[in-house]
Structures are given as structure tokens and as C-alpha cells.
């Protein structure tokens, strides 16, 4: 079987499993009937680079045989006790990670009227990507458009622009635009020139100025542009819309973590967006709520739409009062200016 068809199979059956066992434990079972098998996991060790997996028997339902596709295209049968669930496994090839998910066009809608700076999105993002507290791929700003206008909370992640200034300037194709709309970074390609950071008008990108701390869980894990872990010193990283989750049909952690359903994530081609609680028509939503894109005049064509903070569910102070001092300092200027102008 040639490599191309393996990749296709990997897309068809890509539960994030890894296998830790010796090759002689595998019973070969012919390769022809593999398409009929529903529960096919992949032995990804060779197909997607090395893996960190130990022989654990957490999900041991020993005796149950599972059919797997080996890197050579052989269909093998192994005991399910050897299967390890792995959250951040690189499940697609490097080429696939650059091309994106066929037929998709990811889009996000952020409802500003619901945000109260609960910051659950921020911590969920950091947890999922194993980023330290000071690294915020997703950040919440307190915006005030003009002196008299009311401040509002403004969650901001990468806008995954359709005309991305960052991608234009990359000298080595380390940051790229995929067919599903995502702008990703390959931190094994990145030379760390930081030109993309200077070019991004939204200050979305962060740089690993020092050697990042890699938690044990993802220690030695093979990198993929889709998972974004582990981080590497001297390279750029940013919000990636969690393509490893969207491949599985899951929502990004920020969307799931938000207690107020601020974020709607979905597919423009399917015309659906969901915040986890409700699934809406994307076009209807942006039409009804007069959605806008941030700084449209820059011509970057963001893939993130904002619903204006009209009829707000929370007063803006709700997001400020209970913050720790360190975070309060960030917004002090705007908050004080606001109370001042009210007087």
C-alpha cells in the first residue's frame, strides 16, 4: 500500500490512540478487510513520528481485540489493553497538517454582550496547550472605543485572517494558511525572525524568549503543527483554533469553558456555529446581531466576527471587581477613566 492511501485511512479512522507493544505481539490478519472494520486505530509510532507512551493498563478491558492499521499498511489485531489514549497525539502527517481539513471553513463568532471577563477561556486554553500562566494565546482586553463610550470586555484570539499579514512576510513558510481557513505555525520550521509578530496588527503572536517548561505529560511527544505542543525555545506560537480537536468534531476548549456562551465556533460551509449550548445558523446570527470584524479597514479579512456589546448581560464592573490585583492593574486606566467620565 502506498503512502497516500495510508494517509487517507488515517483520516478516516483517526481516534487518538497510541499503542505500546512489541511487534511480535501483534497478530497479522491480512489487509483487505480493513475498510469493513469500524474500530480501527492507528499505530502511529512510525506514521506520525515518535510517541511518548508507556505501557499502562488504565483502560484495560483485556481480551478485547482491536484491529489496527500499521504504518506499513498492514492490518493487525491487538489486545485493547495495550491501547493508550493520548490527548495531543499527532494524528495526521505533516503534509496533512499543512493542508487542513477538506471541505471545512472554520469561523468564530464572539458575542461581546455576554462576556464578563470570567477568564475561564484563558485558563482552559492554557491548560489544553500546556502553556504557563503568563502566556496568553487568548486574552481578554478591556476596550473603550472613545472617551465617552462604554468600555466592554473583548476576548481576542488569533483572527485566522483570510489575507494574513503574518503569512505574507514569513521567509520560510513556517506559518501558513490552510484550506480550512486556519493560520498555523510549524515550530520545527520557524527560524524565529519575529517578522510575523511585527507584521500582525493584532499582537496575536507570542515568542518563546526562554526555554519553555514542558510538563511531563507531553515530554518527548512528537510535534505537529496541529497540536502545537510541545513548545520550542526561539520560535513563535499563537492561538491555533485547536485543529486536533476540530478534526474529532470537538469544540475548542475556550468555547467549551466559557460559562456564558460567548464563543460560537463552527464551519462556514455548513453554515453552523455552536457555543456548546446552542447551534445556530452562522449567516443568520451575524445578520441578526449586526456582526462586525475587528478593524475591517486593515483589509486582513479576519475569520472571527464580533457581535456588538448591545443589551449586555453583565455590567462591565463584574469582570473587574473580583480580579486579583495583578490583573486589575491591566485595566485600571480604563476603569478609572470610566468612573471619572461618569461623575
Amino acid at each position: 500500500m502506498d503512502e497516500e492511501s495510508i494517509e487517507r485511512v488515517l483520516i478516516l479512522f483517526n481516534p487518538p490512540y497510541s499503542v505500546a507493544m512489541k511487534e511480535d505481539q501483534i497478530t497479522d490478519k491480512g489487509r483487505r478487510d480493513f475498510l469493513k472494520t469500524a474500530a480501527v486505530a492507528t499505530i502511529a509510532t512510525a506514521a506520525c513520528g515518535s510517541l511518548a507512551c508507556s505501557c499502562s493498563s488504565k483502560n484495560a478491558s483485556a481480551g478485547q481485540k482491536v484491529k489496527l492499521l500499521s504504518p506499513d499498511g498492514e492490518l493487525v489485531e491487538i489486545d485493547s489493553a495495550y491501547l493508550n489514549y493520548q490527548e495531543h497525539m499527532a494524528i495526521v502527517s505533516k503534509l496533512e497538517a499543512r493542508q487542513g481539513i477538506a471541505g471545512k471553513k472554520f469561523v468564530m463568532v464572539v458575542d461581546l454582550s455576554r462576556c464578563k471577563n470570567a477568564r475561564k477561556c484563558v485558563s482552559a486554553c492554557q491548560k489544553w496547550h500546556y502553556r504557563p500562566e503568563e502566556t496568553e494565546w487568548l486574552t481578554v482586553k478591556l476596550m473603550q472605543d472613545s472617551d465617552k463610550s462604554a468600555p466592554y470586555w473583548f476576548p481576542k484570539q488569533c483572527f485566522h485572517c483570510d489575507n494574513p499579514p503574518c503569512v505574507k512576510v514569513c521567509p520560510v513558510d513556517a506559518t501558513f494558511k490552510r484550506q480550512d481557513g486556519l493560520v498555523l505555525i510549524d515550530n520545527e520550521r520557524c527560524i524565529g525572525c519575529k517578522f510575523c509578530m511585527a507584521a500582525c496588527p493584532y499582537s496575536t503572536r507570542v515568542f518563546n524568549w526562554n526555554e519553555p517548561e514542558i510538563p511531563d505529560v507531553i515530554q518527548g511527544q512528537s510535534y505537529s503543527a496541529e497540536t502545537g505542543v510541545p513548545a520550542k525555545v526561539g520560535t513563535v506560537e499563537k492561538c491555533d483554533f485547536c485543529p486536533d480537536r476540530t478534526r474529532e468534531g470537538l469544540l475548542p476548549p475556550c468555547v467549551e469553558a466559557c460559562p456564558n456562551g460567548v464563543f460560537y465556533f463552527g464551519d462556514e460551509n455548513e453554515d453552523t456555529v455552536s457555543n456548546g449550548d446552542e447551534t445556530l445558523s452562522f449567516t443568520q446570527l451575524i445578520k441578526d446581531r449586526a456582526a462586525y470584524r475587528f478593524m475591517e479597514e486593515l483589509g486582513t479579512k479576519p475569520r472571527v466576527y464580533y457581535l456588538p456589546p448591545k443589551d449586555r448581560q453583565f455590567p462591565v464592573e463584574r469582570g473587574y471587581e473580583n480580579l486579583p490585583d495583578k490583573l486589575k492593574d491591566r485595566f485600571r486606566d480604563v476603569m478609572e477613566n470610566k468612573t471619572h467620565s461618569e461623575e
Binding site: E134, K141, L142, M143, K156, P165, K168, V169, C170, P171, V172, D173, A174, R189, C190, I191, G192, C193, K194, F195, M197, A198, A199, P201, Y202, S203, R205, V206, F207, N208, W209, N210, E211, V233, G234, T235, V236, M295, L298, T300, K326, L327, D329, R330, F331, V334
Partner: protein, 451 residues
């Protein structure tokens, strides 16, 4: 190689410079080496500990290094444009200064790109620039332009050196064997036959013509690293010509300073005359006025139309509590003083002109800093960051050490080069009547003379 009387005299004067490596030279070289060693240590720390030990952070992603990069590539214009243009125009008084000018070019073009490498987080992946090049990126343009420009500058310098190498080879200098051998190799068998002379003349003319557009491309492309972004203060259509002009301007300044130093150090008053300072001073004055015009129109448009983002940068640059004093200095020392010093006959003296050049070159370095840092400190979204080092850039000792190491490298290379070749080219000076090179321009001159 037969030397005429004038050449002989010139050679005898410079002979001790290339024959001996005196105590004073040793002293200076060691002094420069110490700075370079300190820079080397800083570089070691930066590579081993990461860029976290520099003052650069997520907002101000570039700092001193990029300012140095623009600065060094800028001063390299001394040779490319000044020497190139004067060569094409067949200006006779250029002859004693072309060697200095072209050496500045080559040395500065070696040092400049090192600073861009210092900004690169993963030096181990530099080969990616060749493995996965993207032509859309202004950095790729830069790599192509600078490497071409460097090659061209080296050839231009070397072409003017071949005849001199032949002179050194045949002069029975009291020098070590390896040096003698080097001269022999580098002279590539030049004997001064008519065909050899012709080849060198044609190649030099070609290179002089080629080096000018190349130089213009290099600094334009460099300015586009900034101009192509959507950042206030950078996104400007005049950035290309503005940078090119500033580069020629600062190159002239460095050329005047080097002339002044060499004249004093090696007592070359009879060759590097007051006339040279005054003529180059005139060039500097014209460039200074043009540079002032560009500066004025750039900041006037930003300030007058006062778009939100532009105003934010302008506010930082004009505000005395922020960069205001530096901006004032960059304009007073960078435009007003040099223009006035040359314009007023009372101050149109080598010493004053050299001093004005010094401050002008310094002011232009400050200007480069002011182009980079205030813009990066003004992102379009509010920073709302409590980490001071992320909000405001201040260079660390590592960056300063490497900056001074670069300057020391420049001086060291210059010192070493002046021990290897004569600072004033000897072969350029033919007999009086032979000085007029035959060719279309010279013929015309003859015609004019007969009329």
C-alpha cells in the same frame, strides 16, 4: 611595476604602515579585541539562555540589533554610492578616497547582517532560508539583495586593488613571506599590459554602474521590512527613498570621519587635503538638506492628518517625557548642524566638518532607533500588560555589548586592512597626462579643452 615619481613618493610615505605592525596598532587591536570578546560572551549567553536575556519582548520584538543592522548597511553606502557615482562622473579628486570608501562598504556589509542574525531565535535553522524560501517575504528579498550587494562591493574593491597588489608584490617590501605570497596571489599576474589595463578599466566601470542600483535596492528592500507591515510609523510609501537617502548621508559622514582619522594618524595631509573635506562636506550638506526634507514631510503628514494610530506614535516621538529629546537631537545634530557647518564659510574646515559628521552619524543611529522602537511600543490593540519589560523596551547589557562589539569589529577590520593595503591607492595616480583616462567622457573633455 614601474612607479612614476608621484606614485613613488606616495608609496614611500605609506610603506612603513604596511611593513610594520607597531606597538600602537597592537594596543588598539587588543583593545578592540577585548570588546569583541565581551560581545562574544554576550552572544554565548544569548544563544545558551535564549533571547530572554535581551530587552526584546512580545511587543518590541526588535530593538538595538535591527537599528544597528540598518545603521551598518547604511554606512556601507560610502563606497557604493559615493565612490561609485564619483567614478562614473570621472571626478579626479575621488582617487585618494576611494579605497577608504570601498573598505567601509565591504566591512560594514560584513558586520550589518550579523545583527539580523542576532535577532533570529533559531540560528540552527538558518538553512531553512534556502531549503524553504518564500519569495513573498521581504526577508528573502533582503537575503538576496544583501548577498548580491556584498559580492558586488567586494569585486568593486578588489578591482581597484589588483594594480596595487602588483605594486606591493614588486616593491621588495620588508614583510613576512606569507604576506608577500598573498600579494602575489592577489595580484593575479598583473603586469600592466595594455590589455590587462583595459580589462580592469572596463570591469571597474561596469561595477561602478552596477553597484549604484544594487545599493538602492538593498536599502529599499530593507525599509520595506517595515514599510510592508500595517504598523503606524512604518507603513509609509516614502520609506524606500527615505532610507536610501539616509544611508548615503550617513555613509558620507563615516567617510569624512575615517578620512580625518587617517589623515591625522598617518600624516597624509598632502593627499587627503582640505579640498576633500570641503567637497565631501558639500555632498553631505546637500544630502542633509534632502534628508531633512524627507524627515519633515514624513512627520508632517503623520502629525497633520493625525489618524488615531499615527498620532499615538507621533505623540511618543514628540513628547519630551518619552522620546522627544532624542528626536530633537536626531534632527538638530542630524540635519541642522551638518548643513550649517558646511554652509557657513567660517566653519567649513576639516575639523568642524569631521566633528559635524560624527554627531550626524550618531544622530542617524538614534533616528533608526526612533523608527523602530516607538512603533513597536504602539500596537493597535491596547497592551494592557502589567509586565513592564513587555510594555517598554530597554536594551540590556547583552545588546549593548554586542553593539559595541560590532563597532569594535568595524575598527579592528579597518586597522587590519590598513596594514595590508595602502589607504591611499597608489596605482590610481598616473603621470599627469596619463591621468586622463581615454573614453567617451575624456574625449569630450579634450574636445571642450580645444574649443
Amino acid at each position: 611595476m614601474e612607479l612614476n615619481k608621484y606614485q613613488q613618493e606616495l608609496f614611500e610615505k605609506q610603506r612603513p604602515v604596511i611593513e610594520k605592525f607597531g606597538k600602537r596598532t597592537w594596543g588598539w587591536s587588543i583593545f578592540f579585541l577585548l570588546w569583541i570578546l565581551l560581545g562574544g560572551y554576550a552572544l554565548y549567553l544569548q544563544i545558551s539562555k535564549g533571547h530572554g536575556i535581551t530587552g526584546m519582548r512580545d511587543n518590541v520584538v526588535w530593538g538595538l540589533y535591527i537599528a544597528n543592522f540598518i545603521f551598518f548597511i547604511g554606512i556601507s553606502y560610502a563606497g557604493a554610492v559615493i565612490s561609485g557615482i564619483l567614478h562614473i562622473l570621472k571626478v579626479e579628486w575621488r582617487k585618494p578616497i576611494i579605497r577608504i570608501a570601498e573598505m567601509i562598504t565591504v566591512i560594514a556589509t560584513i558586520i550589518g547582517p550579523v545583527y539580523i542574525l542576532l535577532c533570529v531565535g533559531r540560528l540552527d535553522r538558518l538553512h531553512h532560508l534556502i531549503l524553504y524560501p518564500r519569495l513573498q517575504s521581504p526577508i528573502t528579498w533582503d537575503v538576496l539583495a544583501i548577498s548580491t550587494y556584498f559580492t558586488g562591493s567586494v569585486i568593486f574593491l578588489y578591482l581597484a586593488l589588483i594594480k596595487d597588489f602588483a605594486i606591493y608584490r614588486d616593491a621588495k617590501l620588508n614583510i613576512p613571506k606569507w604576506k608577500q605570497k598573498m600579494y602575489k596571489i592577489l595580484a593575479i599576474g598583473y603586469r600592466g599590459t595594455p590589455s590587462q589595463k583595459r580589462h580592469i578599466r572596463i570591469s571597474t566601470n561596469l561595477m561602478a554602474i552596477m553597484i549604484i542600483p544594487l545599493a538602492i535596492i538593498v536599502h529599499s528592500v530593507l525599509s520595506w521590512i517595515f514599510g510592508m507591515t500595517l504598523r503606524p510609523g512604518w507603513h509609509s510609501t516614502i520609506f524606500g527613498p527615505y532610507f536610501v537617502l539616509a544611508a548615503i548621508y550617513s555613509g558620507t559622514g563615516v567617510l569624512i570621519m575615517s578620512m580625518w582619522v587617517y589623515r591625522r594618524m598617518y600624516k597624509l595631509n598632502s593627499h587627503l587635503t582640505d579640498k576633500h573635506f570641503i567637497y565631501l562636506g558639500y555632498i553631505m550638506m546637500v544630502l542633509g538638506a534632502a534628508y531633512g526634507y524627507f524627515t519633515f514631510s514624513e512627520y508632517l503628514t503623520d502629525w497633520f492628518s493625525s489618524q488615531k494610530w499615527d498620532s499615538e506614535v507621533i505623540e511618543k516621538i514628540f513628547n519630551p517625557a518619552k522620546y522627544g529629546w532624542w528626536f530633537l537631537f536626531s534632527n538638530v545634530a542630524g540635519i541642522i548642524i551638518p548643513v550649517l557647518i558646511v554652509a557657513l564659510p567660517a566653519t567649513r574646515k576639516p575639523n568642524f566638518i569631521a566633528l559635524a559628521s560624527f554627531f550626524m552619524v550618531l544622530a542617524l543611529w538614534v533616528k533608526r532607533y526612533l523608527i523602530i522602537v516607538p512603533t513597536l511600543e504602539s500596537p493597535l490593540l491596547p497592551m494592557q500588560d502589567t509586565r513592564m519589560e513587555y510594555v517598554k523596551y530597554s536594551a540590556t547589557w547583552v545588546e549593548w555589548a554586542l553593539t559595541f562589539a560590532g563597532i569594535a569589529t568595524f575598527f579592528l577590520f579597518f586597522t587590519l586592512a590598513s596594514k595590508f593595503v595602502t589607504i591611499i591607492p597608489i596605482s590610481e595616480f598616473g603621470d599627469k597626462e596619463k591621468q586622463v583616462v581615454p573614453g567617451p567622457v575624456a574625449d569630450k573633455e579634450k574636445e571642450l579643452a580645444t574649443v
